[in-house]
Structures are given as structure tokens and as C-alpha cells.
Homo-oligomer: 273 residues x 2
């Protein structure tokens, strides 16, 4: 196999499996070449990725020397994703008669959900998190891609209590959409004591549901080290929770028309890890 | 930028965005080189990917000439994924007092869910599908990754009816886990008439819930062109639906101990597209 083909194959494998460790020895074995050749390939891929703003390769030296791919999204790419999201949410026929916004197709679009996840993964890459947590149902797509990009497991809080979750912990929260008290549960097996969690949710109004997830985590002696929401309604202040990162701010303009703004903090390029 | 670095960058971009079209012209522009150089790079990547069993590059010629990456999982990789899944499901402490199996951590593990999705994506790549459909909640992970790999949108059927889905269609189905009649709904906006759908679900017992999804699709004048389930219980026959692809077969051995077998059809390497 020629060097350039090997570089292509290794780039592909690393990209497909973000934040997974590969030993140089295993690559050397698969490609039937010396470990030193793989080491040179990795240097080259690292340079190409980093110069192109495509991601980082973290390498460790020594006998057990290995490599992992850490995803990255450049400012330019992030701006493209944010504009795509903004335009999708702003489509006029999304406003339902009930005043709600139809968002399922956006939030389960692999392309858009992954785009949002890439921004969250960049922001929370340095948070030292052990897992990603979300609440069913519409945040699951973005949360799952965020977990994938960060190489972390995902736990999903369920509405009510589900028999297939075994023993669960339940908490009550005030849903922003219905303004009623609702219950959600999480399997006792889902979160280890002391876990550092990234909370991802789709839409935040009062912050009640994210606050509910935080309450749940404290029942597990776990805590949030990052909170990402795709859309926040009614301005960023006055929520039931502290620091969080929204991608889009939803409001109404003077004519009561829906308005989506990109979180200015993200456009100010202040979201480096 | 040197050729080898360009090849690395293009490989990375194509791998990150399966089944998305890229024009050679846009690559030439980003990398500041001639279109003919990009064309050579693509040929090289195509060769390396195809010889390594890593995926295919589909190219189109002419002025609008473009390229897309079509994922593939080799027989050897698929066998590895299937064994990993089997071992995870077989862990003895998964069996709950209720007789149910705790599976949320497996089904929301990005690594395991994506592994399962890669096998479904390979099997259904040639089905000419327009979208992937699943039912909340635990099938969403595998369904989303399958949709991503095939470059398709995902629609998620909801339990009961949700106000944020707008006008919905509802169907009743008999749940295999509770043996009760349950209702699920889907937004009228979610599926276009005539759509060809791939149904993905986590666990199938009697087939009632997949049958319910099929009934739902027929309400939209849509139809299933492929059905994938991660685990089927109680043997492959006698279900309420026709042809489907399970990854694992769940049964009890003589001592009433849980047993998981890999679908023999998959080990017989008969799952080429």
C-alpha cells in the first residue's frame, strides 16, 4: 500500500471514530508496515487537519503510543451552521395554530442536528465531562451527536416512569410549554455518582426542564459542567438556571412575527474551548 | 498545500458528511488548485477507500462533476460490531426484576448505536429510500445514525399526541411489552405522500409496534422498503410483519438464562447491498 493511500485510510478511520484511542501498533499491523511509518503518517495528518481547522490529533508517545481524533469546527463553518439553523427555524409555516413551533424535522435532521452538536462539542470539549444528558424526545438527536463527537455516553431522562428502566429516580419540574408540573425519571443505573455531565436540550423557555435535569443529577451526586440549548425563548436572562449556551434566541418582532437571532456570543468568536 | 495534505483534508470532509454531494469545483476553490488535481485526488481516495473496504466514492463527470461518500462496513468489521453488541446485551445484570432487559445505555451509546446503524445502512443502501422512520424513544439513536449514514431525514413517531407536532395522524397498536393497546401519532408534515421508508426499531417481540408504524405509513400513502430491528425476541417467525432484518435473536436457554445469538444470516455474509 502506498503512503498516500495509507494516510487516506487512517484519516478516514480516525474521522469516523471521534475521541477513540487507536494504538500506532494496531495501524502498523493492519497496514503491514513499520510503526515508524505510521508515526510519520500521523504527523502529516495532524498537520493537514490542524492547518485546515478540521480537528486535532492528540498523540501519546512510548510503547503504547496512540492517537485520537478530536473534532473541531472552525468559526467559518460554525457561522454557516448557525445560519442554516436560523433559516430553518424561521421558515414561516413552522408556526402552528397553537402558537408552538414545529421543529421535529430540524431536530431530527442528521445534518442540522450534527451541525448544532459540533458547536456544542467545540464549546464543551475542555469541560472534563464524563457523559451527556438530555430529556426525551426532541433533544435526543443533538445530544447523541454531541456525545459521539466528545466520545461520551448519553443518558436520556424519560417522561413519567418506564418499566424497562429498572429502579428509577423521579423528579418533578414545571414544563415551560404547558406550565404544568410534570414528572421525569432516570434509571438508577444511568449515572454514576460524581459524574460531570453536559446537559443538552432543544428549546428552553423558563428553564424549568433544564432545572429539572439539574435536580435529577444532584440526586445522583452528579453535576452539570456545561449546558447547551438549541433555542432559547424570551431573552437570555431570567431563567431558572445559571450559565448556559444557546445557539439561537427566539423572540417576536413588533408585528408579532417570529424572529430568530444567532447568539451574538457565538458570532463574536468567543467560543473557543 | 501539498497533495498528500489535500487528500487528507478531502478524505476527512467526505467521511464527516456521508451521502452529501460535493462539487469538484468547490474543492478546487477551497484548496486553491486546479479542478484536474482534485479529480486525481478523488481517484486516489476512491481506490484507497474501496480497497480497504472503508466505503465508496460515487463520482459524476462533466461541468457539474461531483463526488459523494457512500459508507460501507466490511464483513470483518460487521462481525466485530455484532459481537460487541451481543456481549453488551448478554451482561448478566441487565435482566431486571420485572423480566425486562435494561438496554438504554447500549441503545444510546454512540459507539454501539452507530455500529448497529452501519450494518443497517449497508443492508438498506440500495433500497431507494427517502427517509428513516422510528418510534420514540430507545430506537432513536440507531435510527438517527442510520439516517445520517444514508443521507436521509428521520421522522419519529410519538407516544400519544404532542401539541408541538401540529395536526397529527394517530394509530393504535398492541405493544409487545405491555400487551396493551397503545396509541402513537405522527405529524402530518413529517412524511410526504409516496415516501419510501426504512423502519428502525430497538426490540421486537410480537411485531405489533413495527406493524403500527407500517399502518401509520399507509395513512400517508407511504410504505416501508426495509425494516431493521436491533433485537428480536422469541424466534424470527410468527411476527405480525413480513421481511425484516434483526441483528440479534433473543431467547432463553434450558436454564431460563438469557441468550443472544447473532442473526446467522449476517454471519453468512449474505448482507451485501
Amino acid at each position: 500500500m502506498k503512503k498516500i493511500e495509507r494516510v487516506c485510510a487512517i484519516t478516514h478511520i480516525l474521522t469516523e471514530h471521534p475521541n477513540r484511542d487507536y494504538s500506532l501498533g494496531s495501524f502498523a499491523e493492519s497496514f503491514g508496515c513499520a510503526r515508524s511509518s505510521i508515526s510519520e503518517d500521523i504527523k502529516l495528518i495532524k498537520k493537514a487537519m490542524e492547518e485546515g481547522g478540521l480537528g486535532y490529533l492528540e498523540t501519546s508517545a512510548g510503547v503504547k503510543g496512540g492517537v485520537r481524533y478530536v473534532p473541531f469546527i472552525s468559526d467559518a463553518e460554525a457561522a454557516k451552521v448557525l445560519n442554516e439553523l436560523k433559516e430553518a427555524f424561521e421558515e414561516p409555516d413552522r408556526v402552528l395554530g397553537s402558537g408552538f413551533l414545529y421543529t421535529s424535522d430540524i431536530l431530527f435532521s442528521p445534518r442540522l442536528a450534527k451541525g448544532a452538536a459540533r458547536i456544542f462539542a467545540r464549546r464543551f470539549a475542555g469541560a472534563g465531562a464524563d457523559m451527556v444528558v438530555t430529556k426525551e424526545t426532541k433533544g435526543i438527536g443533538v445530544a447523541l451527536f454531541t456525545a459521539e463527537l466528545l466520545g461520551l455516553p448519553l443518558a436520556v431522562l424519560r417522561r413519567g416512569s418506564r418499566v424497562s428502566e429498572g429502579s428509577t429516580v423521579s423528579v418533578n419540574y414545571v414544563s415551560g410549554s404547558t406550565e404544568r408540573i410534570q414528572q421525569m425519571s432516570l434509571s438508577k443505573r444511568a449515572v454514576r455518582s460524581g459524574s460531570r455531565c453536559i446537559i443538552i436540550d432543544d428549546i428552553m423557555r423558563g428553564g424549568g426542564s433544564v432545572k429539572g435535569i439539574e435536580d435529577m443529577l444532584s440526586e445522583f451526586d452528579a453535576a452539570a459542567v456545561g449546558i447547551g440549548v438549541v433555542v432559547v425563548a424570551g431573552g437570555m436572562g431570567g431563567k431558572k438556571i445559571g450559565d448556559y449556551l444557546p445557539l439561537l434566541l427566539m423572540s417576536e418582532d413588533e408585528d408579532k412575527k417570529l424572529r430568530m437571532d444567532i447568539n451574538p456570543e457565538l458570532l463574536a468568536k468567543q467560543f473557543r474551548p
